[in-house]
Symmetry: C2
Subunit: 438 residues, 2 copies
């Protein structure tokens, strides 16, 4: 089956670039190719871009889901040579040069895979079936419903053990996602739980941050790691180092050393892996679930197919194991690729990509954040304001920026933000291990 989809720009006599995935890399690429001598088709299984760095604030009811998402059609509406189709790519046929999706086949002249990453349970399905994840808006809303349901359930608990189990929140993985989530949950304990659940002893809520390493934010400077750890402890997060979770049945967590902990909620933030698409195994070199690409982001061994961002592994400079799977790397690669595609159209040679590490930042709570900028490491309120400014500016859409800014102001000035809503209850048993929209 071939999809005879008419696209508004069909009469343009230009080569067709198909971009699979509208995350940071895919979105940047289509924006850079606006008005350039290509027809561009963006495919995504969602109808919107999701601003992942703020997902944890949707999960902890600081931001509404709508304020961190932006519909692709709004982005491409003013672009004459760019179109969008909602479709889930299931395979690539590099010989026939088509992408196969749940809505038929799309031919391409040039294919760009920007499919991102998904949660990596490292093969441990005993954890995967019960653990919550934070890679999509839907999962964030599940976490939001779950902790609010747990608070309500704690009021009905039969005994103290049962109540403590409802109020135990365990987060695995002390990277930015785990740290930011743990800090936000601790703020909920210190403000919302005390004020709005007067019948509960708020000290029965415990937030555990578990990591197999011996520091939080392992990729940050030592100074920032130490600051983040101090902030977490000030907020009441209990950090457990050199611990590995090996099992979770929805009520009890098992650790590698044989110890156990009763907890209704386990949130897995311990790793991601590239989201590969079947069909390229023969030609492509795949390492650590990422496509190995050359300095032009071209997948080695597969002509006219490129990979960007989390799903691409480029050895370059000191990045022997590829660039970090973060938004800035994805955006920079996309910009260079757009320039190179324009060069290619003009018959000029492409320029190799070089990653410029602009630093890292993470926020733990009000006035508590850490920033690494080259040799500069700073924390506290300046880091916190920097973090807010950078994230606000990076959000897609003016409306979203205004709404997020207002929500943050309202939250941090009054602690009375009011989006703690259980709109669709989370039902643990029905959660699939590999969510297709994750």
């Amino acid at each position: 089956m071939s999809t005879a989809v008419r696209i508004a720009y069909d009469d343009l006599d230009l080569p067709l670039v198909v971009v699979v995935g509208g995350g940071f890399a895919g979105l940047e690429l289509i924006q850079q190719l606006d008005g350039k001598p290509y027809k561009v088709l963006l495919l995504d299984k969602q109808n919107h871009h999701c601003f992942h760095p703020l997902l944890y604030q949707v999960a902890t009811a600081s931001l509404s889901a709508d304020s961190i998402a932006h519909p692709f059609r709004r982005t491409v509406a003013p672009m004459r040579n760019v179109a969008f189709r909602m479709a889930c790519a299931t395979a690539v046929d590099p010989v026939r040069k088509v992408v196969i999706t749940d809505h038929g086949e799309f031919p391409y002249d040039i294919l760009v895979l920007a499919t991102g990453s998904r949660t990596n349970f490292f093969g441990n399905s005993a954890i995967g079936s019960g653990a919550m994840r934070l890679k999509s808006i839907s999962q964030a809303l599940d976490i939001r419903s779950d902790f609010l349901q747990d608070f309500e359930a704690a009021l009905y608990a039969q005994d103290e053990t049962d109540q403590r189990r409802c109020l135990n929140f365990t987060i695995v993985g002390a990277g930015p996602t785990g740290v930011e989530l743990a800090g936000a949950l601790a703020e909920i304990k210190n403000t919302v739980l005390k004020r709005e659940y007067r019948e509960l002893h708020s000290d029965r809520m415990r937030i555990w941050l578990v990591d197999s390493n011996d520091r939080v934010l392992a990729h940050f400077s030592e100074q920032s790691s130490a600051n983040a750890l101090r902030y977490l402890r000030e907020l009441g997060v209990e950090v457990r180092f050199r611990a590995r979770v090996t099992g979770f049945d929805g009520r009890m967590i098992t650790f590698q050393d044989g110890s156990t902990m009763e907890s209704n909620t386990l949130i897995w933030a311990a790793g991601v892996k590239g989201r590969l698409i079947p069909g390229l195994e023969a030609g492509a070199d795949i390492a650590a679930s990422r496509y190995r690409v050359d300095r032009f982001n071209q997948i080695e061994g597969v002509p006219d197919v490129f990979a960007l961002g989390d799903v691409a592994l480029m050895r370059e400079g000191s990045w022997e194991r590829g660039h970090p799977q973060v938004a800035p790397a994805a955006v920079q690669q996309a910009r260079t690729l757009a320039e190179n595609l324009v060069r290619r159209a003009k018959g000029r040679p492409m320029r190799p990509f070089t990653y410029r590490d602009k630093g890292s930042m993470a926020t733990i709570g009000r006035y508590k954040a850490v920033v690494d900028l080259g040799r500069f490491h700073f924390g506290g309120i300046v880091a916190w304001l920097t973090w807010m400014f950078v994230h606000l500016m990076a959000l897609v859409g003016f409306r979203n920026r205004v709404v997020v800014l207002f929500n943050w102001a309202w939250k941090y000035l009054s602690w009375k933000n009011t989006i703690r809503l259980i709109i669709r209850p989370y039902v643990p048993k029905k959660a699939p291990v590999e969510d297709p929209i994750a």
Copy 2:
């Protein structure tokens, strides 16, 4: 099983009022009883109040779900004698004076049923299984996902018939909900569809408003009905009078006169019925799915049990068939009941309720609304601004008012609002006829 739930005010030696349902009536009642000589317990199956009059704007992607909901715990947090429990009341035992819920039993001294209403299919299960409804945030989000999915599906349609079926939206019932929903869908056709779905012929999208009567807004003045009809037609809504829908299989609608129409979407806004709770049948007089109450909102024949709002039927003045099932009637009854309960606590006689009809209003689109205020009937931009002001002021929570105001300004100034998100796809086959949280 009796739920030994400790409530923070347990040491207060006061009679206990249990309020079932936190809609307009229940919320107003607990706010009026704040600081009064009663202990008050609000039970609701949701953890938030939903501002129903704006549900259609959530369904049509003008407002985010979070901005029309407000968590009950935020409302009761500052109230010393009021508490909230999330629980779904399943029965009442008026002899033992307990409410039975999915979380055990709650004893009461005084019980107030403010359980509201749900969609009335008038026994036609052939419609109920496929039709969409608009009585909860979850259902509003389903409608939002559904029309956006239909737009995307239209792009993949095999032929023109298939495409037209995707783009046919039929709303049954020309009351305020149906009229406002039809108008909002027409605005989407005239703005979003034209701009963001360039490959579709926007005139293939058709919005049908079907009613068995021969006018829209039948309870409004004739002038307002005529204005509303004109506005609807100006926006492109096709109104079909004196038609009754008798069947819908998810693809085709059947009318009583035997005619059919191909349509993927049928939204049922043709009626509601009171949400009764089992256990009162023996003593109470139930008419038209509402508890018959006296002028003090006391259910006739059941001591110490009151009913408010949509679920109560009070004959008073010219209201031979009860007050209209609208928010102002619910709020006014709740205020009078709160005063009467205080009088009762002081041993004073209660005062009979008199409904003050403050008028009706409905909005059809930008600059297009109708308002009936006693003898005054007006439409156009003045009515539209009145409608916006009244609804904004009635919203619960300062944050919600600011966010809604900003979203309206953004939408009506730019037509570029960006919450057209399919966050959780709507799957028609799985929709239950009687949604427990509807």
